[in-house]
Symmetry: D2
Subunit: 132 residues, 4 copies
């Protein structure tokens, strides 16, 4: 899948001069939204379809600090597309260095009922699977 | 009016080790919401009344830097209550030191029509006037 | 241990009208800093001692959405105080409802060397252990 | 001057479904840093030169709300380059619509002494002047 780039902003760095750890959760969201968007399944479409998608859980491993102006390139994989809990796995790099790995789990609700993504949007799942 | 206290969070400081200047706009909102809330005119009430209140403009003068753990105490004054544009004036202190002064202007809409706050909520305006 | 309270700010809610999930990582930091502070081992002391403490990893389970004005009360436990990786476990409540559970892992470095917290600050560890 | 583009993130929208007003101050910083960076006078250079540059004041006029996914294009002008207080003026557009205008004032300190930018970095000022 095409990597998403986040360039670290000045206001994302903290008093230690490094990217505050809470911001990586936002970079994960940016990469996820970007991938769904490029596949044609952006927020507007899901909203129009009556689909909501809460974050169920996440985990993050911080391997190397990053700092202002770093270009964090994020590799995203979608997993468990047949389950009611889709997982996204993230590898974040600055240059060749792996700086952070993470996972997030998401449910997809339509009319208040959780559905596997493969049932809700089979075409999206084919696209996601083909890319990785 | 009773002063509102914001204790600066670690994640609100930046790479220079001071409170990032964008956060003061958030402190202003906190102080404003707190004052309206204590007067009995919180977001829930306004929402229930069909009242929305966009920020029209703001200005901020940064006098002294603040940092992590500082207790910023905010003095708030409501002005121009008879106008369709209410002004709030802010003086922010750490101890006795004036660290920041600011103003923000707000419109109050009911059913899509801008109204003077004194017409919309006369009792609130009396409370605000009495306190300052 | 005394619970830490975070009242959700307007600017912490997102377009779905709920607290954006990235903010819980900031609430965890607030609770952690508050506990160390109350025990007399705040950032200033650690900095003066040449101690730095990066976040190594974290995991979060979102159980119920929260929203603007909710008072999130956070129960904190410190674990593995004899290891070079201290774990903090968090239970977050709104009223009696468990809304979020989380864990974070931290290293403590002195002069570039990782040390168990029980070796670095034995008194702090006794206080943390006594409270929970 | 080349316009800077900020695409509004999901986490930058608030419970009203619009971009939270505090974020525009961050977009202003992004545009300013980007312009200085492209001119070859980024943070690293200034830091290496012992130059610090605090924000002195700012003002913002919110004309139209923006929302998630909007591409805000920011036109920047540097003014008063011969003064110890440099002003930056911002015009923000979504498509052809002017959504926000703003100004910020900055001091430039070298070795604790405020200097006009034209004295500190004459070449930068020529570049800034030539572009607008």
């Amino acid at each position: 899948m095409e990597r998403y780039i986040h360039k670290v902003r000045y206001y994302e760095s903290d008093a230690m001069g490094i990217t505050h750890h809470s911001n990586y959760i936002r970079f994960m969201e940016e990469a996820r939204i970007d991938a769904l968007d490029r596949a044609g399944y952006g927020f507007e479409k899901m909203e129009a379809d009556g689909v909501s998608s809460p974050v169920v859980s996440l985990s993050v491993n911080y391997r190397r600090p990053t700092k202002f102006q770093d270009k964090i390139s994020i590799e995203l994989k979608a997993l468990d597309l047949d389950s009611v809990k889709v997982r996204f796995a993230y590898k974040m790099y600055v240059g060749e260095t792996l700086v952070c790995t993470a996972e997030s789990t998401h449910a997809f609700y339509k009319n208040g009922r959780p559905l596997p993504l493969s049932q809700l949007y089979p075409e999206l799942c084919e696209k996601l699977a083909a890319e990785q």
